[in-house]
Amino acid sequence: MTLPTPSEGEVPLAVNSIGVGDGESMPAEPPNELIYRHQARVRRSLAALWASRDIVYTLAERDIRAQYKQATLGLLWALIFPLAMLGIFTIIFSRTASNGIPGIPYPIFAYIGILCWTFFSGSFGTGGTSLLTNNALMSKTQFPRECFPLESILVTAVNSVLAWIPLVLLFVLYRFVPYPTTAWAPLLILIELAFTIGVTVGVSALIIQMRDLAQVLPIVIMLGLFATPVIWQFKRVPAKWQIVYGFVSPLGPVIDDFRRTMLLGLNPAWGPLLAAIAGAIFYLVLGYRIFKRLEVNFADIA
């Protein structure tokens, strides 16, 4: 940005001199060359974000503490929600043989899908509106705004980690031992994380511009639950569409490959998985760019 040298229009703040402005000679609009253009450099933004990691932890701690402080069952709720979902799905969908994988207990099959899905939907649901719910804080304090959606994701991640405990119990209950190929899990988790962060960060920035979107979120989440292979097999997607599906919704291949590696001892299906990796990176970059583009007026319209 270029600036003219300070001219006589400036009010000096020197001791013992008093400048009095009249406001009459003021132009109605600022000259064009003064217009502020917000430029967020990726590297500097990420450095600032890293420097503010304490804030993300502290905000997440705040939410977790506040969430469970007054609930008698406390952290148990993190387990109850996915288990309730599992119970409902098992009762409704396990009768239809075509839903699960033959030979695999349906609850285990479904619970893996539920785990992946609830992490995404939880992050998306709370993170998407995080700028709205933290409105008071955001319009009064200054630190990277990405902290808000990231904090919501972190809270959901903590809850999700707790929700893995019932899976272990299910394995014990059904005397099922996961295959060594489960070692692929970190890659799958990473893909899901990138996808979730990208979508959540981007959507949170859009929602604050257009509040109506906040009403649409629950609908999208409900639709997504059935459009994602949570209760059904990824195989149901026609083979020629699997790559496209993987790119558009990386969760599909992620859930499928969790099941393949953990329950069947197979390697990931590479085609859809690579598409999912590409998709996750695409969402991450797009979401972050949208966020950075729009962040300039967050505090004004919030």
């Binding site: 703040l13 400048g19 009095v20 502020y36 503490r65």
Partner: protein, 394 residues
């Protein structure tokens, strides 16, 4: 730029005119307007061409009525929001106390909130931990710190918030009108703490409606009115200009409503000349009443605002028609400066519910005499009075 410096050059800021609930229909209307007229004017300027420069360790007070853009300017300096045009630079860590309760979560305890708000204001966890005892002690909340904050009073929350910010030790401290909720003792403590922080080399930008506290803490002041800088310079001069403008606004707003009509008013010194410190002064007013009433007539002297330094009252029977009132103030205890005379008339019985004359400024005047004494740093003078004193040191 050295650490602690702030430079703001030709900053403009616009707000969208309707910031709430843009209905779809309104959006369409706006779209139509923007197409048909070519220009979009659905915004207003809240800051126009504001420039300021604060050296490291400097103190700047921002004054002005509500909505004049003070807080927006602070927000721009702290990068909470961004300017629409112009340049705003600052160097060093900024501690911005724009609202004391926004970072505080009601369900958490005071202790948890110290860490939370500290982090939000940019304090590392370790430092919060080290200063924890000092912060709690300063806030005077030693007994309440493990209670949930929702059971704190607003004043207690404010004390907690301010204490955290006061121990941040940033390079630049930005304080918005936040002290108003504290009790008088704590306010004084806050101002002393601000003073201490400033002495350690922190740059201060302070927003307040309380001119006395601005005068106590800031060497420089800037008066914002209607999005533009009306005056900038040494605090006392800017504050004096600001006070006289408040009086003008007040007299415009209240000219001759009420039953009593004020026809003429003046104030004069001993021989009808200028008013002198510790000499008598005479306020003369010509008034008109539709009927004779028994009433109280008040006369007060203020610094221009509606809050008088002192008042006097006369109870009596006022005649119908035109009459003249003289009020002789003995040994007027005011130092040099600009003041104004305010007056009001109230009655009882049938006039109990309608004040005969609302509290309003009638005239302004200058006092000649000794200058206002500068109090020690960090001490607020509630009202400048000049009294004769005799000192004796044995």
């Amino acid at each position: 730029m050295p650490k602690g410096g702030i430079r703001v050059e030709h900053v403009w800021k616009k707000f969208r005119a309707d910031r709430t609930a843009p209905l779809f229909y309104d959006q369409l209307l706006r779209l139509h307007r923007s197409i048909s007229q070519g220009t979009r004017r659905d915004y207003r300027w809240v800051l126009k061409d504001v420039s300021l420069n604060v050296e490291p360790g400097g103190t700047l007070g921002l004054i002005g009525i509500n909505g004049s853009g003070k807080t927006t300017l602070l927000k721009i300096i702290s990068k909470v929001t961004y300017q629409s045009a112009g340049l705003c630079q600052s160097e060093g860590r900024i501690g911005a106390l724009l609202s004391v309760t926004s970072g505080i979560h009601p369900d958490l305890t005071g202790r948890e909130n110290v860490y939370l708000y500290g982090a939000v204001l940019g304090m590392r966890r370790k430092i919060s931990h080290e200063r924890f005892d000092e912060i709690v002690e300063f806030a005077g909340l030693t007994n309440a710190i493990d209670r949930q904050v929702k059971f704190f009073s607003l004043g207690m929350q404010m004390r907690l918030g301010f204490s955290i910010a006061a121990f941040l030790e940033p390079d630049i401290l930005l304080v918005d009108e936040v002290l108003a909720v504290g009790d008088a003792n704590f306010q004084q403590k806050c101002i002393q703490r601000i003073e201490e922080v400033v002495r350690q080399g922190t740059t201060l930008v302070y927003v307040s409606h309380d001119l006395n506290s601005v005068e106590a803490t800031c060497k420089q002041a800037m008066w914002l009115a209607d999005a533009v800088v009306r005056a900038a310079g040494p605090t006392r001069e800017v504050a004096a200009l600001y006070r006289s403008s408040i009086q003008e606004d007040a007299s415009l707003a209240t000219s001759n409503d009420g039953v009593v009509r004020l026809l003429k008013s003046s104030i004069a010194g001993p021989d009808g000349g200028t008013v002198l410190s510790l000499e008598d002064a005479e306020v003369r007013m010509t008034m008109n009443l539709p009927e004779s009433v028994e009433a109280d007539l008040y006369v007060g002297i203020s610094l221009g605002t509606a809050f008088p330094i002192f008042i006097t009252k006369h109870h009596g029977l006022f005649p119908a028609g035109d009459f003249e009132v003289t009020c002789r103030v003995h040994n007027i205890p005011l130092p040099k400066g600009g003041y104004s005379v305010w007056t009001a008339m109230t009655s009882f019985g049938k006039w109990a519910d309608t004040p005969l004359m609302p509290w309003k400024p009638v005239t302004s005047f200058d006092v000649f005499g000794p200058d206002v004494l500068n109090p020690p740093e960090g001490v607020m003078v509630a009202a400048p009075l000049y009294v004769g004193t005799t000192w004796n040191i044995d």
